[in-house]
């Protein structure tokens, strides 16, 4: 598995990644997924990661990037597939 940028999150990341790969290959790719079964594990991973991002000051970089992207997307709006807008930020 790929490493986390925060070594202290490697363990919880690996647990989540394993869960995701199983769900993705056994449910999602078959078109039989009904819920994201790995959400509880993701939340644990996210908790660890967001702390690490904050400590390293990356959270502000990310926030700015997402805001910039929103601006750029607004400037260069283009319809994507199925008429939806393809935005980097959710």
């Amino acid at each position: 598995m790929s490493a986390s940028l925060a070594p202290e999150c490697n363990e919880v990341k690996e647990r989540y990644d394993n869960c995701f790969l199983k769900w993705y290959s056994e449910k999602f790719l078959r078109g039989t997924a009904t819920t994201d079964e790995c959400k509880p594990l993701f939340e644990q991973y996210e908790k660890c990661l967001s702390k690490a991002l904050k400590t390293r000051g990356i959270d502000t970089v990310l926030k700015e990037a997402r805001e910039d992207n929103r601006e750029n997307d607004a400037e260069h709006m283009r319809p994507a597939r199925n008429g939806e807008l393809y935005l980097l930020s959710n």
Partner: protein
């Protein structure tokens, strides 16, 4: 000025395998400069069967000597040799029902110098009743008691069945995946400074010494030079990105998910060994 680079390619692997390989493409022997990959958000929509993922990659990179010559190192935050690290934000949307995956990656650092946006559109070639075919294969796989699509988590008894199922899929001639890659390069260098001078009330984002630096240069020509350097780099890194995907797909075909994860583990060990950790310097210094 903006520069573009575009290329089409067809993987000889079925669409679901290619999407899985995309998520598992780091580390691979062609991406030893990728230090970490984290998922920062993920959303599954059961109604559309779409999965949206945002990931953050940390890459070690070496700035080209040409860029170092153009710009003071103080702006770039690089070492004397041009060694630096940069974050890449990647968003992907997979629609398994319609058979496409759109991805978009952009750099988070040096965006003032050069912003690079890579978009990829993966597509299952159009064919009627594709999903039924796929489910048919899946059904057959299950009947052979493989116990799982890519044989997740099982090391011994199921590996033959998995190998067979993935081989079956990829040996069908129409089981291919098309991809179009577009890279957009845009240098914004000098633009912030220009904005700052027109609105003197706003606090200057740039340190004052840069103004003196830019005075002696034509902003447009620096931008153009940087975009050309970036374009050359993008052209050079594309084959590596493709080969990396192919290594992962090959491992998947040979031994399922277990083989992919085992390969990743070895690649990761090699990277850590070569660089002595995240801040280290590498031998295999490929650009991307």
């Amino acid at each position: 000025m903006v520069k573009f680079y575009s290329q089409s390619y067809t993987y000889d692997y079925p669409f679901p395998a290619v999407t899985l390989a995309y998520f598992l493409r780091y580390p691979n022997p062609y991406s030893t400069h990728v230090l970490s990959t984290d998922t920062i958000s993920r959303h599954f929509d059961p109604d559309t069967q779409r999965l949206t993922t945002v990931r953050l990659h940390l890459k070690r990179s070496k700035l080209p000597a040409a860029v170092l010559k153009l710009l003071p190192r103080s702006i770039l935050g690089a070492s004397a040799g041009g060694d630096t690290q940069s974050f890449i934000l990647e968003k992907s949307v997979v629609d398994i029902r319609e058979g496409w995956m759109d991805t978009e990656s952009r750099n988070l650092d040096f965006t003032g110098v050069l912003s690079v946006i890579e978009k990829q559109e993966f597509k299952r070639p159009a064919a009627p009743s594709r999903l039924e075919d796929w489910q048919g294969i899946e059904g057959a796989t299950r009947r052979r008691e493989s116990g799982g699509f890519f044989n997740f988590g099982s090391k011994s008894s199921n590996s033959n069945a998995t190998k067979e199922s993935v081989l079956t899929q990829s040996s069908t001639p129409e089981e291919k995946t098309d991809v179009v890659t577009t890279v957009t390069l845009h240098s914004h260098i000098g633009e912030k400074w220009k904005r700052a001078t027109t609105t003197p009330s706003s606090s200057s984002e740039e340190p004052p010494e840069k103004q003196g630096f830019f005075k002696s240069w034509s902003t447009a020509s620096i931008q153009r030079s940087i975009e050309i350097i970036g374009l050359k780099r993008a052209r050079r890194s594309q084959p590596n990105a493709k080969e990396g995907m192919k290594v992962v797909l090959e491992r998947m075909r040979e031994g399922g998910l277990v083989a992919v994860l085992e390969g990743m583990r070895k690649d990761r060990e090699r990277i850590m060994g070569a660089h002595g950790g995240v801040r280290g310097k590498g031998v295999n210094d490929d650009d991307e």
